[in-house]
Symmetry: C2
C-alpha cells in the first residue's frame, strides 16, 4: 500500500442511507476509504454498544471499488469492529461519520449514534468528525454539504486536532449559494420537550410512542443553533470528559466528604 | 398527598436486578418513591432512546407498597415515560438510578445506561444521581452502599445541586468498615482496550463477541479511579455540555471559517 491516509467512514442511518454515500463521495479522493456501517438504521442509539450478543460483519460491494462492511451492531460497535477486526489494530488517520439525515446540534449530540461513533474513534486518538445535515428526508440534497466536508477534512488531515479529537459538524438545509460559511461554536443548551402518543394496538393493549419538539432557550450568539439558524455550518469541538468542573468547588466546599 | 419529595428510581440492569431493590430500600424513607425501570437488562445502552417502536409500560407489584412500572424501552425511555405519563409532567424532586452492578467510573459514563438515565432527568432540571457498585455479580453485597446513598440523597434533597444537576457516584467493592469516605473527583481519562473473540456459530458462520480490559493511563490523584482504588466513594459532578471549550480558540484561530 501507499502512504495515503486511511479514512474510516461510518454512520447511524445504516449503510444503504444516501447520507453515507454522499460522505464517501466527498472524502474518497483524500485517501484509502474503509466503510464499516450498521446493516440497518441505528438512529438515536447514543453510545450504546453490544455486550450480550455476538456481532456479524459482512463485506459488501455497494460503493464500487471502496472496501465496505456492514455490521449487525450499533455505530459504536462498528467503530470497535473496524479497529480490531477490519484494520487489525492499525489506527485510521481519520474517522468521519454521517452524513446524518437530521440535526445533531445542541443536546442531540448525546442521543446521536453518528457523533457517538466519531467519539468512539476519538477515544482511540483518531481525529474524528461527525457530519449532519438538517434534513430528515431520505432524498435530502447532500450536494451542498460536500464542499464543507472537503474543507474540514482537508484541514484536519493537514493540521490534526490538538486540544480535542472530535468535531460535531452540522450543515443547514440551504442551497450552497445561501450557506454563509463555517462558525466554530459551543453546544447550545437546548432540549426536547416530549410527549408520548398513547394509543391501543390491534390487540387492545396500550402503547406509547415518543414524539417531541426541540426548544432552545439559549440566547447565545456563539452556539451551534444560532449559527445554523443564521445560515452557517456549525463546528463544535466536543469531548468525552463529562466532568462539570465548575461544580467541583461547590461540592468540595459542601462537607460531603464524611 | 403530602409535601414529601417525589423520588424517581430507575436503572439499566432491569427492574428485577438486586441493585435497584437496594436503592429503593436506601431512599424510600426520604419521600414518595416511584419506580420506572426497564423490563429487561439494558446495560451499555448509553443514551439510546426508542423512536421507531412503540413502548409498553406496565404497573408491577414487586416492591411491596412502592408504586412501580416496568417499561419495554431503554433507561432514557424510562425517564421520559416517567415524566410524561406516570408523573403527568409534574417534575420529580430527585432522580436516582442504579445501583448499577459494575463500575461507571471514568469513560464508562458514556456507555452507561444508569448514568444516562440520570442525565436525562437532569436535562429536565431534576437533581439526579447515578449510583454504581464496583461488583458485576448478581449477588453483590449492596449493604455497604446504603449509608453513602443516604448521605448523598439527604445532602441533595436539603441543599440541591447548583452548578450542575448530575452526580456520577461509584462505590468500591469493600466492606463498609474499609470504605474511607467520599471524594469529589473529576472523570479519569481512561479507556477500554478491546478485543473481539472471533468464532463460528452452529451454522458455520463467523461471529464476533466484544471483550475488553479497562486501562487508566491518567495518573491524577483527583480522579474517580484514584478515589476508588484508594477506598473512597467517588462523586463526579457531570454535565451534558460536551463542548471542548479549550479547543474553541485553536479552531477559531485556524482560519476554518471560510
Amino acid at each position: 500500500m501507499t502512504n495515503q491516509p486511511v479514512i474510516l467512514v461510518t454512520n447511524d442511518d445504516g449503510i444503504t442511507a444516501p447520507g453515507i454515500r454522499a460522505l464517501i463521495d466527498a472524502v474518497k479522493d483524500f485517501g484509502k476509504v474503509i466503510v464499516v456501517a450498521p446493516d440497518k438504521p441505528q438512529s438515536a442509539q447514543g453510545h450504546a454498544m453490544t455486550l450480550n450478543l455476538p456481532l456479524r460483519l459482512r463485506k459488501v460491494n455497494i460503493f464500487g471499488d471502496i472496501e465496505a462492511y456492514e455490521c449487525s451492531g450499533t455505530p459504536v460497535d462498528c467503530v470497535k469492529l473496524a479497529k480490531d477486526v477490519v484494520l487489525e489494530n492499525r489506527a485510521a488517520d481519520l474517522c468521519v461519520s454521517g452524513v446524518n439525515h437530521g440535526s445533531n446540534a445542541s443536546i442531540n449530540i448525546i442521543y446521536s449514534g453518528t457523533v457517538s461513533a466519531a467519539m468512539e474513534a476519538s477515544l482511540e486518538g483518531i481525529n474524528s468528525i461527525g457530519f449532519s445535515l438538517l434534513d430528515f428526508a431520505y432524498n435530502a440534497d447532500f450536494e451542498p454539504c460536500k464542499k464543507y466536508i472537503r474543507h474540514l477534512v482537508r484541514y484536519v488531515l493537514d493540521h490534526g486536532l490538538q486540544k480535542t479529537k472530535l468535531l460535531n459538524v452540522n450543515i443547514p438545509k440551504l442551497p450552497e449559494s445561501e450557506i454563509k460559511g463555517i462558525k466554530i461554536c459551543r453546544q447550545a443548551n437546548g432540549k426536547w420537550v416530549e410527549e408520548f402518543v398513547r394509543a391501543k394496538d390491534p390487540h387492545g393493549r396500550d402503547y406509547y410512542w415518543l414524539t417531541g419538539e426541540f426548544t432552545n432557550p439559549d440566547q447565545g450568539t456563539d452556539t451551534d443553533i444560532w449559527a445554523l439558524e443564521n445560515g452557517y455550518v456549525s463546528v463544535v469541538p466536543s469531548q468525552h470528559d463529562l466532568t462539570a468542573y465548575d461544580a467541583l468547588e461547590e461540592l468540595r466546599g459542601a462537607d460531603l466528604t464524611y
